[in-house]
Amino acid sequence: MTRRILDHPILGKMEDNNYVSFTFNQKGYKGLENESLAAALLANGIRTLRHHEESGSPRGIYCNIGHCYECRVSVDGQQGIRACLTPVKEGMTVESDGQLPSSKRR
């Protein structure tokens, strides 16, 4: 089941259909070119974008417009990139920032 709102009573049908491939934590996904990474991941059912650096608690988007820095991921090796502000491009390699949940938890 898609999480995309393909048809909207006021906004109409979605026009973009230019899908590109990217990876998140080594798994392949498809997103619409230039939509935000956060939107592309959520459309694929992914909410957890990173884990808190000390506690390891899972975090996802909170503000969705660049204010809260909760959505930090690594993009093509560069850390601390806000997924909610970053347009998806073909071939992007995205990784969760922060501590892996297995090493320390709650």
Partner: protein, 87 residues
């Protein structure tokens, strides 16, 4: 999770209890409360928790002259990556 354990500052994971206790003990300004607990001193620069920390401080501090302030913000207001700092 009890209400006291609830996190106020998401970046530094500072709890409601820690903020309440510190505010009650020192009856300090919001600025001092932040320095003592690290609430609002994390990655987002306090954008998410500022209003809440201010309210907790206002409850216990005798903040006079609250209407006119010079908000103390340190640049950069967005974290700069080490790469950019280098130059």
């Amino acid at each position: 999770m009890k209400e006291d354990e609830m996190i106020i500052c998401r970046c530094e994971e500072v709890s409601y209890e820690e903020l309440k206790t510190t505010a009650a003990k020192y009856k300090c300004s919001a600025r001092e409360l932040k320095l003592r607990t690290r609430a609002g001193m994390g990655y987002c620069g306090g954008r998410s928790c500022r209003t809440m920390v201010d309210k907790i401080a206002a409850t216990s501090a005798n903040d006079r002259n609250r209407t006119c302030v010079s908000l103390k913000y340190q640049p950069p207001i967005r974290p700069i990556s080490f790469k950019n700092l280098g130059g």
